[in-house]
């Protein structure tokens, strides 16, 4: 985990009532839930593809990746378009979220290292735990969540612990 010297901004979103956060420089845009075209012969967490201004962008269900039950489409469900950098190459993909909340400014001293146990998620997925008021938000390492192998279309990495 690299040490940040300035406050960074994080976009918080919920998955099944749990709050997660992503560094704002990984987030391109947030879209309302649109029709997703399912690609056959893909694992369940790959929802399919969408048309993003003429480009075909894959969409994944992060809840399934983290071992939670599948996302139920609600009025607040949205797709967060993120940039994932793997081996120096950047891929754009969309991630389903139950709702998007706010952009937080977190000072480096408000971010703690993720505990090795107790989060029920692969330790690599979490970059740290941010403290916001009384609550903790799990800051995701999006580059690890979608591993190089998956981006290359090979075997998906193991999900929940």
């Amino acid at each position: 985990m690299h040490e940040a010297t300035e406050p960074s901004q994080y976009l918080t979103f919920t998955l099944d009532d749990e709050v997660f956060a992503l560094n704002i420089d990984k987030v391109r845009e947030v879209l309302d839930f649109t029709v997703i075209t399912k690609v056959p012969r893909t694992p369940d967490f790959m929802c399919g593809v969408i048309n993003l201004r003429g480009n075909v962008v894959p969409v994944v269900d992060m809840r399934l990746k983290f071992g939670m039950p599948a996302t139920e489409k609600g009025v607040n469900t949205c797709i967060i378009i993120v940039e994932v950098t793997v081996d120096g190459e950047t891929t754009i993909l969309g991630a389903l979220a139950d709702s998007v909340q706010e952009v937080l400014d977190l000072e480096p001293d408000q971010i703690e290292q993720a505990p090795r146990i107790g989060t029920r998620l692969d330790i690599d997925f979490i970059r740290g735990m941010g403290k916001h008021g009384d609550n903790f938000v799990m800051i995701l390492n999006i580059d690890k969540v979608f591993s190089a192998d998956e981006i290359a279309g090979l075997e998906p990495s193991a999900a929940a612990a």
């Binding site: 012969r41 893909t42 593809v49 048309n51 075909v56 891929t91 279309g153």
Partner: protein, 194 residues
């Protein structure tokens, strides 16, 4: 040679070698679709749209319940006296919903042989601008790209060669093991990542 392989892989192509001792070697490079516009046939299964290259399409005929009954469960159709095998795409792609009473078989000519692909509706000709579907889907057999339709929705481009090869492989496995391989594989794939 490595540069050639990498280049061909980047285009989702395939290289094959045949070599006969004392006679020579031939290298075949098969390059599927790249960024281009192709004339294609737009078909629909359930609510999903697919396109396939029009150049490969010979004709479209109907497939009724009677035809299926007459073939006793084998995927064979009688096309003007010729026995033509077909691939039930709805089954292979595990698409939900119910089968319509009358389906359509799109007869494709592939390497001199005829194969049918069963779809719900043949929508019509479509000028397809090929969009790359991304590296995440590179290993998906049977889909080689995507296109954006006039209404903004995405249609997937079928790779007929891969579909037929996959079907052949699965049927050989089925004969060996006596079970339905592709359905089992699809269910297994979903189970593992659920």
């Amino acid at each position: 040679m490595d540069v050639v392989k990498r280049g061909v892989d980047a285009l989702r192509g395939a290289i094959s070698l045949t070599s006969i001792h004392g006679e020579g070697t031939s290298v075949s490079i098969r390059i599927p679709l790249t960024l281009a516009i192709i004339e294609s046939l737009l078909v629909r299964i359930g609510s999903d749209c697919f396109v396939l290259p029009l150049a490969m399409v010979q004709e479209c005929i109907e497939l009724t319940g009677n035809d299926i009954a007459r073939a006793h469960g084998r995927h064979l159709a009688n096309v003007r006296g010729r026995i033509t095998p077909y691939i039930p795409l709805r089954q292979r792609f595990a698409i939900g919903g119910s089968r319509p009473e009358i389906e359509q078989i799109v007869i494709i000519e592939l390497e001199g042989k005829q194969v049918g692909l069963v779809v719900d509706h043949v929508v019509g000709e479509h000028q397809t601008v090929i969009k790359s579907i991304g590296k995440m889907f590179r290993e998906v057999s049977g889909i080689s790209g995507a296109t954006i339709l006039g209404d903004g929705s995405v249609a997937l481009i079928l790779d007929v060669q891969q579909l037929v090869a996959e079907e052949e492989r699965a049927e050989r496995e089925e004969c060996r093991t006596g079970g339905s391989v592709l359905i089992t594989e699809e269910l297994q794939r979903r189970e593992v990542y659920a």
